[in-house]
């Protein structure tokens, strides 16, 4: 099943909002890279550049009280779900104002107050936890939907298999979003998955397996909406594969010599941000290039604020390491 953009066209406000969200992620990640090189971010980093349409497409189809579980590459997931850019940036800087009080770092950003679980850096391990969250929503009767993001590489983990099976037999409100960016670190999908699409694996669980252009935010949003509706109606999980590409290294200082410059150029032409801005200005003609530039300025202001906030926030005291091993109350 291939989903294309819905007939009902999105409004100008919606479109500009999506663009805003995606650009925020892009700029956040670009700044992270620069700040890392300046030595201000002590952490390792897995950036989300190129995949913005997935997180934003998915999260824009959710209710605020729905849940998201991210991966080792979670900044995009967290920003799209509404975690403040200040608190993420502060976390990366290792400051106490960080969303995890500087205990987590890049790979564990999250904020349960906005439905974003602390991200999980063990590939695939978030999937069964997402199923538990969905089970809980069903038991509590809240109709909340839970999202588990994972990569095509992660789809080979046993944890993901167990999770999809359990979600299927109990018809739980959970969406498995596979971000197929063609590589797991240096490893191309063709070497580690024998089927054409990760979505084909849905057949093992009797759940819908949907493929979508992961660089088309409207397509991702639409596919997610359909799956979310199913889930809220108690019809169970969906495996949604978003075909995309990481327009950056796997982690800091990866020269990407395991892939060709041609392939990268091809995908740069499909840059989800460029595509959306073209769609807005040229196809839908709902905003001008100047208005798009206006969004960029807003984003820049948010970014600068986040960086300032992070810079000015205090570092934790060393002994704070001893806190929060166990729950200490709100």
């Amino acid at each position: 099943m291939l989903v294309t953009t819905s007939i009902e066209p999105p409004t100008r406000a919606e479109l500009l909002h999506l663009y805003h969200e995606m650009l925020l992620i892009r700029r956040f990640e670009e700044q992270c890279n620069a700040l890392f090189l300046q030595g201000k971010i002590p952490s390792t980093l897995h950036l989300y550049i190129g995949q913005e349409a997935v997180a934003v497409g998915v999260c824009s189809a959710l209710r605020p009280d729905d849940f998201v579980l991210g991966t080792h590459r979670p900044h995009g997931h967290a920003l799209a779900k509404g975690v403040s850019s200040r608190s993420i940036m502060a976390e990366l800087f290792g400051k106490v104002t960080g969303c995890c009080k500087a205990k987590g770092g890049s790979m564990h950003v999250g904020d349960m107050a906005v439905g974003m679980f602390p991200a999980i850096a063990i590939v695939g391990a978030n999937a069964p936890i997402a199923v538990g969250s969905a089970l809980s929503a069903k038991m509590r009767g809240t109709q909340q939907v839970t999202i588990a993001f994972f990569g095509e590489g992660g789809s080979n983990e046993g944890a993901v298999h167990e999770a999809m099976n359990m979600a299927a037999i109990w018809q739980l409100p959970v969406l498995f979003i596979c971000e197929n960016n063609l590589y797991g670190a240096s490893t191309p999908i063709s070497q580690v998955v024998a089927v054409e699409n990760v979505a084909d694996r849905a057949a093992a669980y009797g759940i819908p397996g949907v493929i979508v252009d992961g660089n088309d935010v409207l397509a991702v949003q639409e596919a997610t909406r359909i799956a979310v509706e199913r889930a809220r109606e108690g019809k169970g999980p969906t495996l949604l594969e978003c075909k995309t590409y990481r327009l950056c290294g796997h982690s800091r200082s990866d020269a990407c010599n395991y892939r060709t410059r041609d392939e990268e150029a091809e995908w740069r032409d499909k840059d989800p941000l460029v595509r959306l801005s073209r769609y807005i200005t040229e196809v839908a003609q709902l905003a001008t290039a100047e208005e798009i530039a206006q969004v960029a300025e807003e984003v820049e202001a948010i970014m600068q604020d986040a960086i300032n906030f992070a810079e000015e926030s205090p570092e934790p005291q060393p002994e704070e390491a001893l806190l929060h091993v166990f729950w200490e109350g709100n």
């Binding site: 349960m112 391990a125 069964p128 538990g132 809980s136 929503a137 359990m166 929060h324 091993v325 729950w327």
Partner: protein, 337 residues
């Protein structure tokens, strides 16, 4: 007060907590199927009659999934009690327990809680190497987990209730030979740890050990089945004029260090008894802690009585050699005088 086996006491504890709090539920393999086993050792037998199959939730054979589901549910308002048929299978879900459940509160800077309970039977019972291990030491070494090891029916119910109400991940280790399960699930060589268990609500606080026998000459620390081995040894020793104090920590993490230290300060001698392999076992920490914190009170080397460093063997003569006997406890104590 009614008398109960440990299996019954656990069952009643689950029942009372599930009645009290709608967010409590059980999940695991073969725990609620009508006509089935009620878990590998009958603890959940009959509970699905009262609570239905949504709250006594039978799962696929998917240990990673069971643990992960418990974590996700616990983080979003539920209080799952997960069941693993044999403790040995905890290794299959080790990542979920060690990297996820135990670290989630910490990694989030204290902003999320993971109130889950995981119950696991341990002990060697003629089933061979993969259904026999004592795994406590693997989990007492993971910051963020609480670890309980009840040896009586009273403690089993009271600690289980504390565990369910606790806002952290709690592992409960239960010994197969102490359950007192009946019928097809009765175990050869089992002790009947039947005891009085109040019908009214009570809890046993996490973190408090208990002196099972007082004595002035030597301190013996045991857990689960080896508490009974220690008590038998103490009786024998008494006949030779050695009065042993027997301590059952009940909670392994957090440990009631003071109850052990106080005893050692009095007796000057320590023997730790456990069923697990000796090297890098649970007893090593007890010995190391005392060797640091009560060193100047010690009159003799600290002895550990434990299984040798082999996987659990199958055949009864070898298994009997593997599992620490009362006689071995007696002779370890005597070697200190």
């Amino acid at each position: 007060m009614p008398e109960m086996t440990i299996a019954e006491a656990l069952r009643e504890g689950i029942r009372e907590e599930m009645r009290r709090d709608p967010s409590v539920f059980c999940l695991g393999e073969d725990i609620g199927i009508p006509g089935g086993f009620g878990g590998a050792f009958t603890v959940t037998l009959g509970l699905s009659d009262e609570f239905g199959h949504d709250r006594i939730l039978d799962t696929p054979i998917s240990e990673i999934g069971i643990a992960g589901v418990a974590i996700g549910a616990a983080m979003t308002g539920m209080r799952p009690i997960a069941d693993v048929q044999y403790g040995d299978f905890l290794f299959c879900m080790m990542d979920q327990l060690a990297n996820q459940a135990a670290k989630m509160t910490y990694m989030s800077g204290g902003t999320v809680k993971v109130p889950l309970v995981m119950r696991a039977p341990v002990g060697s019972t003629r089933r061979g190497s993969q259904h026999a291990q004592s795994l406590e030491a693997f989990f007492t070494h993971i910051p963020g987990l609480k670890v309980l090891a009840p040896s009586t029916a009273y403690d089993a119910k009271g600690l289980l209730k504390s565990a369910i109400r606790d806002d952290n991940p709690v592992l409960i280790f239960e010994h197969k030979l102490l359950y007192g399960s009946k019928g097809g699930r009765s175990e050869k060589g089992a002790l009947t740890a039947v005891g009085e268990v109040p019908s009214e609500d009570y809890v046993v606080p996490i973190g408090k050990g208990v002196v099972r026998r007082t004595g002035k000459d030597v301190t013996i620390v045991g857990k689960l089945l080896t508490v009974y081995r220690a008590l038998e040894a103490a009786q024998e020793l008494a006949q030779e004029g050695i009065e042993a104090e027997v301590i059952d920590p009940r909670t392994l993490i957090p440990l009631d260090k003071e109850i052990i230290l106080e005893s050692v300060r009095k007796t000057g001698r320590l023997v730790v008894v456990e069923e697990d392999n000796i090297t890098h076992g649970w007893g090593a920490e007890i010995a190391a802690m005392v060797a640091e914190e009560a060193f100047f009170y010690l009159d003799a080397p600290i002895k550990r009585v434990a299984a040798p460093d082999t996987p659990p063997p199958f055949a009864p003569p070898m298994e009997a050699f593997y599992v620490p006997s009362t006689a071995r406890v007696v002779s370890a104590v005597k070697s200190l005088f």
